[in-house]
Symmetry: C2
Subunit: 216 residues, 2 copies
């Protein structure tokens, strides 16, 4: 974070929150068209991979939460815990197939308790506001117009108070005005990882690397 060796983030729980604006919420989307008919589940699958998977192990201190807003049965919140998840492979297709198990569970509008279709997966009825209502920790919005994460003040802001940390990212679409309003009420700041506008999974990779360095 620009002050090598001086920052230590101890036992941590890192949470990535990805808003999937068009992501299909019913389990009948085609695995052969993740980019199209599935509403960009390809990008969400890459986020799951990059958030949770190292080369040959799983980041047990990291979770990812998908806010699924598209398709036939929105909204849904699908969380994957690095500590508990099983049967997770690195490729987009098998990741999306595993997530379909969660989408296959019937969720009544009034359901508040998450259902667990497979180890480490939890799904519940809700959108961004419901997720934020249940969130406990320090949160940040990742945004191209945010403050540079390598700025010392940002590093202080990020690490002050310690984990759990929540990082909100949007998929290939910008947050709507309403969504941004909800998120801005919940976060401690808006941060950027660099000068180019990256795909969400690329931002996750850079963030994980920065956090890895704080915990080394």
């Amino acid at each position: 974070m620009g002050r090598k060796g001086s920052i230590e983030l101890e036992t941590s729980e890192i949470n990535f929150v990805i808003v999937g604006h068009r992501a299909e919420t019913s389990p009948d989307f085609p695995l052969n068209d993740l980019c199209g008919a599935a509403g960009r589940w390809d990008g969400l699958a890459r986020c799951i991979n990059t958030a949770l998977l190292l080369s040959h192990e799983i980041r047990k201190d990291t979770n990812i939460h998908l806010i699924l807003l598209g398709g036939k049965d929105p909204p849904k919140i699908l969380s994957v815990s690095g500590h508990d998840v099983r049967y997770l492979n690195p490729d987009e297709r098998s990741t999306a197939a595993l997530m379909k198990k969660a989408l296959n569970l019937p969720l009544s509008p009034s359901l508040r308790r998450p259902l667990c279709p497979s180890p480490g997966l939890n799904i519940s009825r809700g959108g961004l506001d419901e997720f934020i209502d249940g969130m406990e920790g320090r949160a940040f919005l990742l945004d191209e117009h945010g403050e540079d994460i390598h700025d010392n003040e940002v590093a202080d802001l990020l690490l002050k108070g310690g984990p759990p940390l929540f990082f909100f990212l949007s998929d290939d679409m910008d947050l709507s005005v309403e969504e941004r309003g909800s998120v801005m009420k919940a976060v401690h700041g808006t941060i950027s990882v660099g000068p180019r506008v990256l795909q969400a999974h690329q931002v996750v990779a850079v963030l994980n690397n920065i956090l890895d360095r704080t915990r080394n």
Copy 2:
């Protein structure tokens, strides 16, 4: 690179070189099993995505070269130019499908001139040694045991002399002793992006972010 604002990498040509040890070299691999029967084409597709694609544009100053060593017709060198490529979508499946167009071209053992099956794609007969023989630029091996890329001496080594730059990475398998020997003769140093052992596309994301900062 640890010295914010003091380093400038001007007009650049960045090259990622990924060794795909088991990557299928004939075009008949199943798009439904990139992770298995295709010999980890899922990982190569993610590397292509992360090397060349930003959120909504292409990195025109970046190329990726795949050294394909597996399957029924090895070895092949498949290069994708960010400047020229067309029809490249972000998902693994369509990326692999596009690359099949190159694998479908017949390559005689003696062929030296690359063939171009689609804009920005070039394929030729050869492996790691042939690629290195034809390489012109400053090269580095990315490796978990390398020097930290944020070390000032590494930053100097990396940027001294300017582009074109070549970054060698392996897929999910380590380089063999012979492969490592070939690469070590060609590179200026071995560098690591951080304390955890990442997937190749995650390393590419971190490297691109670091290079973006030098060019901002």
